[in-house]
């Protein structure tokens, strides 16, 4: 309550008179100064190179450079659209990425909540460290490991299915199963990362809220539902929104190391496509055009969710 009052008071004071305004500017000056170094660096190293993206509209020849290559308008995008299967590729990317975003959001929350219930510190810390470890494995190595454990003839997963009377499944070679395998293995590899973020967020929840809930007679489940989850909400919304920026990133390394001609139909994604066009065929203009398209889509999604969150929940994500 006090909080709200002071805030209003400062706001009133700040907008009251001209000298006050000047004083506010002087008071805010350090804030601008703080941002300055970071801002300069991203202007130089992020915005500067962004000019290079204009090669998306060129028939780019690196030897001629950006200034001497021929302009080709939207030819690069047209070229991509005319290639067979480009819509299938976009569709694959969307499905895989969206499934990864959804599952990848839920799993770390659940694990963080479960870890939150653990009272034994040592156990908790050990689990916390161990679940982060798969992050360090590379897909090149995991590709081989997955072929082994998912093998229909000798893989451990299928052996377990057989115990339950289920027929072996050719996970990596089946167009029905390839995407679920991608999603599961990716979430498995990366959930430790977000779990850490949520655990950090949990530390910020006011313990008095739990005490109040106990006094109100709430059991642990109710406390989780009404105290813990709402406390995590901002960070959940934040990660969800930022994940939307990844909606056209289905994970190059993973797909590249796991897919095969058998599952091109469901597994070929924008990034593997760009790899073939950009690296193998050396068509930089086309590759950049596709990259730009991805960025624009992400920007639209991200800003939409930003403004929706602001309008309906009066909450600024960043």
């Amino acid at each position: 309550m006090l909080n709200k009052v002071t805030e209003d008071r400062i706001a009133i004071v700040e907008s009251a008179a001209k000298p006050a305004k000047k004083r506010a500017w002087k008071f805010q000056l350090p804030l601008h100064l703080m941002i300055l170094p970071g801002l300069l660096l991203i202007l130089v190293y992020s915005y500067g190179p962004m000019l290079g993206a204009i090669i998306a509209f060129q028939d780019f020849n690196p030897a001629r450079g950006i200034f001497d290559s021929e302009w080709s308008g939207l030819d690069n995008i047209r070229y991509v659209m005319a290639l067979p299967g480009s819509f299938q590729i976009i569709w694959n990317t969307l499905i895989i990425a969206v499934m990864k975003i959804v599952v990848g959001l839920i799993v770390p929350i659940v694990v963080a909540l479960m870890l939150n219930e653990v009272r034994k510190e040592l156990f908790k810390r050990t689990v916390q460290t161990l679940v982060y470890l798969p992050h360090f494995l590379s897909w090149i190595i995991l590709g081989g490991v997955l072929i082994d454990i998912l093998s229909p003839s000798y893989g451990i997963v299928n052996q377990m299915l057989n115990w339950f009377g289920i027929d072996s499944i050719y996970f990596l070679g089946s167009n029905d199963w390839f995407r679920p395998v991608l999603v599961t293995s990716d979430v498995w590899k990366e959930f430790g990362f977000n779990t850490i973020v949520y655990l950090a967020a949990l530390t910020g929840i006011n313990p008095t809220l739990y005490e109040a809930a106990v006094i109100d007679g709430a059991n642990r489940w109710k406390q989780t539902l009404y105290v813990t989850l709402p406390g995590m909400a901002p960070i959940i919304i934040l990660t969800a929104t930022l994940a939307l920026g990844q909606v056209l990133n289905a994970g190059f390394d993973q797909v590249y190391n796991l897919y095969s001609p058998q599952v091109y139909e469901t597994g070929d994604i924008i990034d593997t496509f760009v790899y073939r066009i950009g690296i193998v065929d050396a068509q930089y203009g086309v590759a950049t055009a596709v990259g730009l398209f991805k960025s624009v889509v992400s920007l639209i999604l991200l800003s939409t969710s930003y403004f929706l969150a602001y309008r309906f929940a009066n909450y600024r994500i960043f």
Partner: protein, 294 residues
């Protein structure tokens, strides 16, 4: 506080421990496998015999990695990179996150600033323009080329921004009342109270710098200046048998790339195994709000 445990609660706790233990095992098994492969003979690995325990134990792959002089040069470079990178990243992340955590009425222009930063998460000009920028600014072939282009990790910055925003306003106001300016408030109030968030992004930043390799290859002009992972990337045998000479094939076949890559992964995750448990000390619950309880 003594909690009376109901039966369902006991059941839950039991289940919880078992579940988390199984989950950890699921996460650790592949790494154990990788470790086993890295200590196995090349032929055992190539035949796929290695499961969770080394077959025909040998230190060959580690000898191969550690046996080159470049290994130690690259370790030094990586330490330099992590030190410089961590310092620059953390300072800038804090300096950017603090102003952006203010509401619009307290910091005019924050939303524009915020979008200017977030925009760089979505758009980039690609490798070649970045290289030219690095070259023009004269930092090519130095540790700065590995640090400055990603001086502000946006994701970490946003995390910290949100954490700052979650801190009670009373603290800040109290500081202002005492005549403190923004600088003092940031260093004396915000930073000490954000230990869990800072520990998290310290971890992420370290992992990032420890494991990045591509920029090392592009921005460094000589293999002697490679950081560890760039170096390892070049000694891991690229399976280019197609146009390789017979001598090369014979040479490459001596070292299994599988045992070698496994050793690389283990070396890559080693520092994190050492550092993370230490950082976890800062994941203390309620330190933030505990301090303002009246």
């Amino acid at each position: 506080m003594v909690e009376r445990l109901t039966i369902s609660r006991r059941l839950f706790i039991g289940f919880n421990y078992i579940f988390l233990a199984l989950l950890s095992i699921l996460c650790i098994l592949p790494l154990v496998h990788v470790l086993a492969v890295s200590f196995s003979s090349s032929s055992a690995a190539a035949a796929g015999y290695v499961k969770l325990w080394p077959v025909e134990f040998t230190l060959e792959s580690y000898k191969y990695v550690l046996g080159k002089e470049e290994f130690f040069e690259s370790i030094l470079m990586t330490i330099k990179r992590v030190a410089v990178g961590l310092t620059v990243n953390m300072v800038l992340t804090i300096l950017v996150a603090y102003p952006l955590s203010k509401e619009v009425n307290k910091f005019r222009g924050r939303t524009i600033y915020a979008w200017v930063f977030v925009f760089t998460m979505l758009f980039n000009g690609g490798l070649i323009p970045l290289y030219m920028m690095v070259k023009y600014t004269g930092i090519l072939d130095s540790v700065w080329a590995l640090v400055l282009p990603q001086a502000v990790p946006i994701f970490n910055m946003i995390l910290l921004l949100n954490f700052f925003r979650g801190l009670p306003k009373e603290l800040e106001e109290a500081a202002f009342m005492d005549g403190a300016g923004h600088w003092t408030t940031l260093w004396k109030v915000y930073v000490p109270l954000s230990a869990p968030a800072l520990a998290t992004i310290t971890l992420f930043t370290m992992v990032f710098h420890w494991n990045s390799w591509f920029d090392g290859l592009i921005f460094m002009n000589s293999p002697h200046n490679y950081p560890l992972q760039s170096y390892l990337q070049t000694v891991v045998i690229q399976q280019n048998f197609t146009s390789a000479s017979l001598e090369t094939i014979a040479e490459l076949s001596k070292i299994s790339d599988r045992t070698f890559k496994s050793a690389q992964i283990f070396l890559g995750s080693l520092p994190i195994l050492l550092v993370y448990p230490f950082l976890q000390r800062f994941f203390m619950k309620g330190i933030v709000l505990g301090s303002v309880k009246e």
